[in-house]
């Protein structure tokens, strides 16, 4: 779409040529954080966006005549533009150099890369199994992470044990990396639990279904981390960061804007990780924004970076840098991982009503798992023994999921009265007592089957 007349149109470069032009696929763009000068100069300073992390400034005070220069505007092409994405692996799996982010992946060994590959493959297997179980009636609903494995696994691998994650409801890849048994994730979708795992033990909060609400929880939690004195100590075992995951649709929610405000003014150690998967159920990102989602953050005084979310290496590197900034006391970072929801919103959705098969096919050719596979193969780093072992592991996971789900049983009806309050509440206790008395009044109570006890 045209950028003409869009709000960003006056964000023209002060130094023409400071950012590369063209390169719609982002294959060569050395993009880096858009760093707001306001972070340094305070709220009164003019908002200045840099595109290469060094000097190029885009100021609202630039004369409008600059628009006619040959330089690209800061945010060309609207919210679905692929230009300016940090990319370390091309869609065909070729490693491309990046002056700023190469350092973050330099230490990764082939074992590390295979670990990422393994996690992505297993999470996709989980998606497949869970979707099948939903079709068989074992789950009420399921939301696939399909297509977003690189953004989730890459960013998840950048976390340290003491970090804390506030996910939305599609972050199965992060859950897996945080050690959550993926069958516990399905407790929610089967309808036996509203949560399903211990959020403290895993540093991975419960899923939040009200869009965007948890970004404030993450920000407040990060404010608490600062109070606890656990940023900027220099001790890698102590310094702590918080990550919250949300989607492109969520950025329209007021709570996300409020989270950006609170994160900025408190310099909270939080990474706001937006997976722009291009679809909020049926609404494209163009219904949520007219500029790239990441362009919002600098206005709040928060540096932002756009990354190719189907590139696991870039997702890892960008998140590692943002986490490092957070842990060292540098405050929040907004990451926009540009990716694609290859599946439906949930098993209740029908994408054929609102998007083309051509688009789906285009993104299938940019599959994040295939990209890493191609790269590893080019390095001769995917031995058949590893692949065979992984295939067996996937089959075992499938079996584990199927048997565990079917064995989850039925919560007792009286369990609905548990944990409403941390301390007894007379109203709940009275209703529980009545209900238990009522239930026990049925003579055929022992051995009853569901729906037949009356």
């Amino acid at each position: 779409m045209s950028s003409s007349g869009l709000p960003h149109a006056d964000l023209t470069p002060a130094a023409p040529g400071a950012r590369p032009t063209g390169s719609p696929s982002g294959s060569t763009a050395p993009a880096a954080p858009w760093t707001p000068a306001a972070t340094h100069g305070g709220p009164a300073a003019a908002p200045v966006l840099t595109t290469d992390g060094r000097a190029a400034a885009y100021s609202t005070s630039q004369p409008s005549s600059a628009q006619s220069s040959s330089a690209q505007p800061a945010f060309e092409g609207g919210p679905l533009a692929e230009e300016g994405l940090v990319q370390l692996l091309t869609p065909t799996g070729e490693r491309v150099a990046h002056p700023e982010y190469d350092a973050y992946v330099a230490a990764l060994t082939d074992d590390d890369l295979r670990a990422m590959y393994r996690d992505m493959v297993l999470v996709r297997r989980f998606d497949t199994e869970a979707t099948a179980l939903q079709r068989q009636g074992e789950l009420a609903l399921f939301a696939q992470a399909l297509g977003q494995e690189a953004a989730q696994v890459g960013s998840g691998h950048a976390l340290r044990p003491q970090d804390h994650v506030f996910p939305s409801y599609r972050e199965h890849g992060v859950a897996h990396v945080r050690g959550v048994d993926l069958t516990d994730v399905l407790r929610l979708f089967r309808g036996v639990d509203h949560g399903g795992w211990d959020p403290v033990a895993h540093g991975f909060h419960l899923y939040t279904l009200v869009i965007g609400s948890h970004t404030l929880h993450a920000t407040g939690y990060a404010m608490g981390v600062v109070r606890d004195g656990l940023v900027g100590t220099g001790d890698p075992e102590k310094d702590t960061a918080v990550v919250t995951y949300f989607g492109d649709g969520a950025t329209s929610q007021g709570d996300v804007s409020e989270a950006l405000v609170f994160a900025a003014v408190n310099q909270a150690p939080v990474v706001l990780f937006c997976q722009n998967n291009q679809w909020a159920i049926s609404e494209p990102t163009t219904r949520q924004a007219t500029v790239p989602i990441a362009a919002r953050a600098p206005g709040f005084g928060i540096p932002a970076v756009r990354v190719d979310g189907n590139d696991v290496l870039a997702s890892y590197a960008v998140t590692a840098q943002a986490l490092e900034r957070a842990r060292s006391g540098g405050g929040p970072t907004f990451v926009e991982a540009f990716t694609y929801r290859m599946g439906a919103h949930t098993t209740s959705d029908d994408p054929s009503r609102y998007r083309s098969s051509e688009q789906e096919e285009y993104w299938r050719r940019r599959d994040p798992i295939e990209r890493l596979r191609a790269y590893l193969e080019s390095r001769d780093a995917l031995p058949s023994q590893f692949l065979a072992s992984l295939a067996a592991e996937g089959d075992a996971l499938g079996e584990h999921i199927r048997t565990t789900i079917r064995a989850m049983g039925h919560p007792s009806a009286a369990s609905m009265f548990e944990h409403v309050y941390a301390t007894p509440h007379a109203g709940v206790e009275a209703e529980r007592a009545w209900f238990e008395s009522y239930e026990s009044s049925f003579l055929d109570r022992p051995g009853h089957s569901e729906g037949s006890h009356r």
């Binding site: 404030l216 407040g220 109070r227 944990h419 409403v420 109203g427 709940v428």
Partner: protein
């Protein structure tokens, strides 16, 4: 109606206030409750529990920070809450206050006056002007082990935070199967009678009492306020703490040395119980928050005409202490419920239903309700025709007695 027969909320006597939010706190108080006027005791320095100044980086007390008063003192409602918060801050360094204008200004009602000077701006925090953000970040802080006490500036401004309160704060403990607690207190100045502009006089308490997972309490006097706020802060559950702003400048005796009691349970002083505040034999008047004073005045007026009214202060709307109300109605046989909130679907409806179920054969008359109408809160010039004043309460008492 003649104003002489109205209950007289403090705000009635205030200079014209075009916007209550900018009304200086110092314009009150104007009315007092009964009791000796010379009840003050010698103020001596009292170290309120484990002083946390050394461990939290709070500034050392400067000479202009008054020592914590002790003994029985005659205090305004607002000051009683201030001192309750002050004790809570001193007792537990995980307690922090958050809200709009609560720091240097001391809150638009001055309830947090002086607390930032004493405890520092990292424990008495001026937040961005965003109610959802205040509650949402408080949830995160609570998950990290803190005990945030939030101020929502006015009742009508709680709605931007309604989603966070009802979908997140109320349900986190349940959703986590008891793994997570959210000990968050939300203080809400509520109710009318202060001549304010729109959205500054509402009574939205039942919206929260209707939401499982929240506790909803409201004090009716300075002594109650001092105790209840401390109990609310120590509760492991989220608490909506509704403060009757029309009573902020009324005075009453407060025993500042009263030990902090456990917040929950059957103790008469606990947070979960209603209380009979005046004994009587003919009619039970059930009230809470701002209408308790109204009910007590009604009882006084009725006594002069030979009618004996028992007044029950609910104190808590969730849980609702049905047992105390039922015991009273079983003695009197008649019940009138009074609140400022609209009658339709209100607390009175809940009390009436429960009393009908539990006291059916004791009732001499249907349970009657007196409260606001099913209209938006009206303009200030006619708000005293909307609010349940002394006349409307006595009228309902007469109707109950006529059965």
């Amino acid at each position: 109606m003649s104003t002489a027969t109205h209950d007289s909320p403090a705000g009635l006597h205030l200079p014209a206030a075009p916007h209550a939010a900018v009304r200086p706190a110092s314009t009150g108080p104007t009315t007092t409750t009964s009791g000796p006027t010379d009840a003050t005791t010698t103020a001596t320095t009292h170290a309120p529990a484990a002083s946390s100044a050394a461990t939290t980086g709070a500034p050392a007390r400067s000479s202009d920070i008054p020592p914590f008063p002790t003994g029985v003192q005659k205090l305004t409602f607002a000051k009683a809450i201030t001192l309750g918060l002050r004790r809570a801050l001193a007792d537990d360094d995980k307690v922090l206050l958050m809200g709009e204008d609560i720091g240097r200004l001391g809150g638009v009602f001055r309830v947090t006056d002086g607390l930032q000077a004493e405890f520092g701006d990292d424990r008495v925090v001026d937040t961005p002007l965003a109610e959802s953000g205040i509650v949402g970040t408080a949830i995160g802080l609570a998950l990290r082990g803190y005990r945030p006490v939030l101020e929502i500036q006015f009742d009508g401004f709680i709605f931007p935070a309604y989603d966070q309160i009802t979908t997140q704060l109320a349900k986190m403990h349940y959703r986590s199967r008891g793994r997570l607690n959210l000990p968050v207190v939300i203080r809400v100045p509520y109710g009318g009678g202060i001549g304010a502009v729109e959205h500054h006089s509402e009574s939205p308490e039942v919206l929260f009492a209707h939401t499982a997972g929240l506790r909803v309490v409201t004090p009716s006097s300075p002594a109650e306020a001092y105790a209840l706020i401390q109990q609310a802060v120590t509760s492991p559950d989220p608490v909506l703490f509704f403060e009757p702003k029309g009573r902020y400048w009324e005075k009453g005796e407060v025993d500042l040395d009263a030990p902090a009691t456990a917040p929950h349970g059957d103790a008469a002083t606990g947070m979960d119980t209603a209380r009979v505040v005046r004994a009587g034999t003919d009619v039970t008047l059930v009230a809470y928050g701002p209408t308790v004073t109204t009910a007590l005045k009604a009882a006084e007026a009725a006594a002069a005409e030979g009618t004996s009214i028992e007044v029950v202060d609910l104190r808590t709307l969730s849980p609702l202490d049905t047992a105390t109300v039922a015991a009273s109605v079983q003695r009197t046989g008649r019940c009138v419920v009074v609140h400022e909130a609209p009658v339709m679907y209100g607390t009175g409806a809940e009390v009436a239903a429960r009393i009908t179920e539990e006291c059916f054969f004791h009732l001499e008359a249907p349970v009657l309700r007196v409260g606001g109408f099913h209209v938006p809160y009206p303009v200030a010039k006619i708000e005293h025709d909307y609010l349940p004043g002394l006349d409307r309460v006595l009228d309902a008492v007469d109707r109950a007695l006529a059965f």
